[in-house]
Symmetry: C2
Subunit: 117 residues, 2 copies
Amino acid sequence: MDILASNLFSALSHETRLRCVMLLMQHDELCVCELTHAIGAAQPHVSRHLAQLRKLGLLVDRREGLWIHYRINPALPQWVADLLQNTLSGVQVLPPFKDDADVLGQMPNRPGAPRCA
Amino acid sequence: MDILASNLFSALSHETRLRCVMLLMQHDELCVCELTHAIGAAQPHVSRHLAQLRKLGLLVDRREGLWIHYRINPALPQWVADLLQNTLSGVQVLPPFKDDADVLGQMPNRPGAPRCA
DNA sequence: CCGATATATTCGATTGACGGTATATGGCGT
DNA sequence: ACGCCATATACCGTCAATCGAATATATCGG
């Protein structure tokens, strides 16, 4: 598992993608509907950007029934993992990242529970 | 001094800009001709990208006679400085970053000395 | 098999980033 | 004032990223 630095930064340069990654840094695993709800964007929008992050190797996905759960690739190079942690500590107190975490925390019907979104 | 995370990543997503920033992380201060030589690109190309980094607030410049010296903005938020250091430790051993540092080290006529480029 | 749900992908249009070349600015020496 | 040098910017054509909307895929329950 390796990753080109400029590709890493391109991936994180889009706010939707960065918001997804920051949420996943705080939750291990989230499904698309949770990310969509937290960010407040259209489903194809989020899905498209998740696909980019997955193709780059930054995220991995796991299907469970209808839901697809994403998480940060656990095999990331150490410096990349450090960089993400670093970024999280820098941005988690400010918008829109803080709000995303709050919205997710208050989301009803999280999957595993009966109904999603 | 503050900086938007997605703008930071956009700035670093271009290889020319990342190479400049990584060189400046290792040298405190470099003039445009040194960066141009190390990277092996055309002068307007490097200058244009340095301007972007400056406008974003990532770099500051200082004129000394004909030369303009760039350095990392010392007033960067801590998490940004940490992130850059983090990135440096991740990429400094691999191309093209390692080679840039080597080429710069072997550059003749560095400014301050009689002639540049 | 059919409908419903969660997610992914395609399509077509637009916008913004980038590159090369040419030119402008600004400072130095004479 | 003139020429030279280091650097910056303007112009313009091209290509890649992005978007909204529509559609496709996959899984489950009945």
